[in-house]
């Protein structure tokens, strides 16, 4: 088990290096450090010296990937890529191009993100599983068909529409909650209700349908017939036999996103003006602040890989058949 986790962690290193190479390559294909400096300094005073100074200050004065001026030692290490990405591995995010400490920003902004993402995740999962189970209880009936049609309809509605409708009715017409914004502390609840509700509702269609399929797959297995042959009542069959088996693929498939909850949701946060990591990233993209984008991409990848490892571990916890090797 331990050996397995260590091996997976080691395997993560080349993946993270790959992620960094990709972000760097993508960013510098069309952008050069000079252009970055111009954007950051504002186009008006195009002073070559100021550009040069900006680059030196932020460490963009070196070659990108390969330093052929340097013989042997610094060929790969004395480059922007090595400088910037190696620090990330020890979670030193450095400073944004505007000069703020990214690490501090992240620590500060991940809590609002989590405050939205975690309740949405938990409530959404519970609601979806409950609905799916309810539909499976009445499988192959008119209710089942109607519920599935409703799910497809819900799935076909754009997520943006839910946000629009939610903000219009809950916030504007009925004045129940603020349209958008965020306050720290207990006041946050008022601002969180709407995003969470919208997040849950927009996921119901797809979630319920998927989980219903998983439960139905279990319901058609032989051991369910065995349980019926034992004289177990239908409802008990559902809760004691189908549910635990159906939950295995569901739980293990959602584990991967749990670490990423810290990252928040780019969309929800920008729709509702929540100062979390999602909107942080989006702002950075729009301001072309490469340091922040790079850090967020790296953080996202790390959390995703942790999620993958957690998924494997969760299998051993919920499924007695699985052993890691």
């Amino acid at each position: 088990m331990l050996a397995y986790i260590i091996r997976r962690l080691l395997y993560a290193v080349p993946i993270l290096v790959g992620v960094n190479v990709l972000t760097f390559a993508l960013f510098f294909v069309v952008n050069s450090p000079d252009q970055m400096a111009l954007v950051q300094l504002g186009d008006k005073h195009i002073d070559p010296q100021a550009v040069e100074q900006w680059k030196v200050q932020r460490g963009y004065d070196k070659p990108l990937f390969i330093n052929d001026r340097d013989d042997s030692q610094g060929l790969l290490t004395d480059t922007i890529f090595f400088d910037k990405s190696m620090r990330l591995f020890v979670l030193d995010f450095g400073k944004s191009d505007e000069g703020r400490a990214i690490g501090d920003d992240i620590q500060q902004r991940m809590w609002p993100s989590l405050a939205v993402a975690l309740p949405t995740f938990i409530v959404g999962l519970t609601v979806n599983i409950a609905f799916a189970l309810f539909v499976v209880m009445f499988r192959a009936s008119l209710f089942d068909t109607a519920a599935m049609v409703a799910c497809v309809v819900l799935m076909s509605i754009s997520g943006v529409f839910y946000v629009f409708a939610g903000q219009y009715f809950f916030a504007k017409t009925w004045n129940l909650v603020p349209i958008s914004g965020y306050l720290a502390g207990i006041d946050a609840v008022r601002f969180l209700i709407l995003p969470v509700i919208i997040g849950v509702i927009s996921g119901i269609g797809g979630g319920t349908r998927l989980y219903r399929t998983l439960f139905l797959e279990e319901a058609n297995k032989d051991y369910v017939r065995t349980a019926r042959a034992k004289g177990v009542p239908e409802l008990t069959v559902l809760f004691r036999h189908i549910l635990p088996n159906g939950l295995i693929p569901i739980l293990t498939s959602v584990v991967v996103v749990i670490p990423s909850l810290f990252m928040g949701s780019l969309l929800t946060e920008s729709f509702f003006g929540i100062p979390g990591l999602g909107s942080y990233t989006l702002d950075a993209i729009q301001a072309q602040d490469f340091a922040i984008v790079r850090s967020m991409v790296f953080l996202g990848s790390v959390l995703y890989i942790i999620g993958l490892i957690l998924t494997d571990i969760s299998y051993t916890l919920v499924d007695p058949r699985v052993r890691l090797s």
Binding site: V152, T213, I285, Q286
Partner: protein
Amino acid sequence: MLAVQPVVLLSDLLIFALVAALILFFVQLARDPLARGRWRSVFVSRIGSAAFLVILFYVLMALLDSLHYREPLPAIATSGSVAEPASETMTEPVVHYSQEVKSVLDAVLAGLHGQDETTYSEPFSIYSFARENQTSDDGNVVRAFPRLAHAGSHLQEGDSVAADVWQRSLKSVLTGVAIMAALVILHWQWRLRCTAQGCGLKSDDMGAVLPWKTIYITLGVLVVGACWVLELGQYYHILGTDKVGQDVLYQGLKAIRTGVLIGTLATLLTLPLAILLGISAGYFRGWVDDLVQYVYTTLSSIPGILLIAASVLLIDVYIETHPEQFQLTTERADFKFLALCFILGMTSWTGLCRLLRAETLKVSQLDYVQAARAFGVRHGRIIGRHILPNVTHLILIALVLDFSGFVLAEAVLSYIGVGVDPSMASWGNMINEARAELSREPVVWWSVAAAFVLMFILVLAANLFADKVRDAFDPRSAG
């Protein structure tokens, strides 16, 4: 001399290539008895047939909207006086073409297009939505809702708008029903003759089982709807006008091309990588598998929307720094649009790749692949003849499922400012523009509503169709 100058955008070429490829694909499928049987079960279901017709209607609109041309400007008679005399050899007058690129759809919707008002107006309203200073007959300046320039201009003062609308609606609906009835009778006759002559086993094979009633009804609704829009669109803004006075319905219909294209192109761009890498990984295993797994784990570990947003902004930078490559606005928008499709495709092939890898691992263990290997059949041929045909169902299911996902994604991306070019008609842009007006009192709802409804119909049809396709092709799908 041509009356108009055809303009061929890159995306136009792609969409027609795509349609050709799809037709070829279906012809190919007709050979395969298993696939034919499955497709039949898709079309036998009422929902499957109806959804397919609706999608077809959207695709048709997109195709019409992909035949682009530039109209000649009226020849300027006095042009010779200033600069032209030098070129005396030119006997023919030089024809200048408009900067505005039109499509066949514009011609069809001529009644809707080019009748711009000055600002917002409500659906079927003949008055503007915003008050303006008006000088009344007695010379006083009053703030009132002015009459619209085009909508309802045929009406006299005091005529009832409702009565006129009803009257015209009735007329157009009757026209639509008549057209539809003619079609149905013609088709009925043709089918009768077909069965009488027994022509072609195939036609009665399929014709007997198709849910004709549903098909007629769906088609009827589409035809009647089209008639109604074409008739009333000439006199009113059916869905109102937007901030700069453009007809909302026209915009919404123009956005169909964007939606349909983004769905198909992005989906198809995912295919080559996913198929090539997924099947190679599953078939060859070993280091190929390790490499492919590495690549897709790396790609999928980057939050998808981040990657898309970053890439789109880079495209913007590229366009800004290379203005010389894009002479027409349309060309620039088209380039950005294709880039967006490409990016969407590149960031979403990993899911299908993973599925294909797993399925190939399974299929390549089956006895018939082992038998082929025992016959010394070469790898390329085994993949082509044995593996690929037996994983096609996965590709197909992914194809139809992804389509609706991409259509929805376009709206979201435009909303956060990394979607298609603002000059391009798209549902995302319509929603995005309306976003600012949400706080306005009374609410300007029609723009958003039009975008949502048109998008919803397409996505719903695609989802229902995808459902049927999956039921027919996925052995695992239950109930």
